[in-house]
Symmetry: C2
Subunit: 222 residues, 2 copies
């Protein structure tokens, strides 16, 4: 089974994630849009970090490998997110597409010459940093069940309203690398959440959140 999509049963208001000047649909046809097929790498740890990328569609996984083979998925970028950040001119993580994706490259000097673009990217960076803060709380202080609940919660919130859920297909091994858990622990945590009636997992890896409020509670942060 493959945790492909997320189907959120509970309805709730979600703020529009994208408020770009140009709708993704159109920009995906822009000349500088790059297609990244599932499994392909957009860049690799050690590569020169020439530009940033804004994700138009799909989902990309940013991960880092420790010399002994341990892997940590540092972030997952979906439509509207930026990736390709670097502090020393060199990528510290590898970026691999979880699903067929499209990204547009942003030249770094364009950020300085175009204040509007710069502001937009700054806003995205600020939100990204906040999301990373939340992940740090998850990784630092939460148990396995709470981490998985938190993960699903974020998916549910990102999936938003009636929109067809479009979250990346992640295997439990990848979820484990994202949450700092072994794949077996991820599996067991799913079982327990299922047993508690918080989620249902259907064929094809679809996960349905049954009770958003109780899932939020299970995630630990109130």
């Amino acid at each position: 089974m493959d945790f492909t999509d997320l189907v959120v049963e509970t309805r709730f208001a979600a703020p529009p994630l994208l408020r770009d000047d140009e709708p993704p649909a159109r920009s995906e046809r822009r000349p500088d849009a790059v297609r990244v097929p599932r499994g392909a790498e957009l860049f690799r740890a050690g590569d020169l970090a020439r530009r940033l990328y804004e994700v138009r569609s799909g989902a990309l996984m940013l991960y880092r490998l420790l010399p002994d083979g341990r892997r940590q998925v540092v972030d997952v970028a979906t439509a509207g997110d930026v990736c390709g950040l670097a502090s020393a001119g060199v990528h510290e993580s590898t970026c691999e597409a979880l699903a067929d994706s499209a990204v547009v490259a942003i030249e770094r000097r364009a950020l300085e010459s175009d204040p509007r673009l710069g502001d937009r990217v700054r806003g995205k960076l600020e939100r990204a940093a906040c999301a990373l803060h939340a992940r740090i709380v998850d990784l630092g202080r939460k148990g396995a069940d709470e981490r998985v609940a938190s993960f699903l919660l974020r998916l549910a919130e990102a999936a938003g309203d009636g929109d067809a859920a479009t979250f990346p297909a992640m295997t439990q091994a990848q979820i484990g690398d994202y949450l700092g858990l072994s794949l077996e622990t991820v599996c067991r945590a799913f079982s327990r959440l299922r047993g508690r009636g918080l989620v249902e997992t259907a064929r094809g890896g679809r996960v349905r959140v049954c009770d958003l409020a109780r899932l939020r509670e299970a995630a630990g942060d109130a």
Copy 2:
């Protein structure tokens, strides 16, 4: 004992952390600089996030509390860093000074009207995000000794060259909350690193890094 300062014995080249238009020394006298005495809170989780802050001197700790009392220090901001990020207009963490500090407030609308300022902040955000990525690797995939080694390594690198080390006084409990460990585990990890000859701890909580290369190895990421 109190891990106040870090004395780096090994000398190595460190890139200048600050390359601001105006040197911190002068700006600390600017009219809008705010002094934050040790222990004081700059803002609290739930507060409205009106502005950003740039740290001029000292050190501030950003932490979040879970309803059951668990605490995670999300980040520590020192001179040159920004804090006060929010994605929904409300602070999600509390910001408390680890040492007497000075910060300057940055109005959010000033970021848009002043492209130079915007660029500078964007650069800081990008570097901050990269640092958070590294922390996620630490929290997700490293054992206690590796986390503490990684922590000390970063201090050593930030302390830089001959400069008097100016890192915040953190108790082992705070270090634990920063690294997602219990204070006892932090203490034991220090003991083990000491035993392996990687660091020495002297009176007043000063930590001396004996062998930067071996410490880096002990930190796990090559």
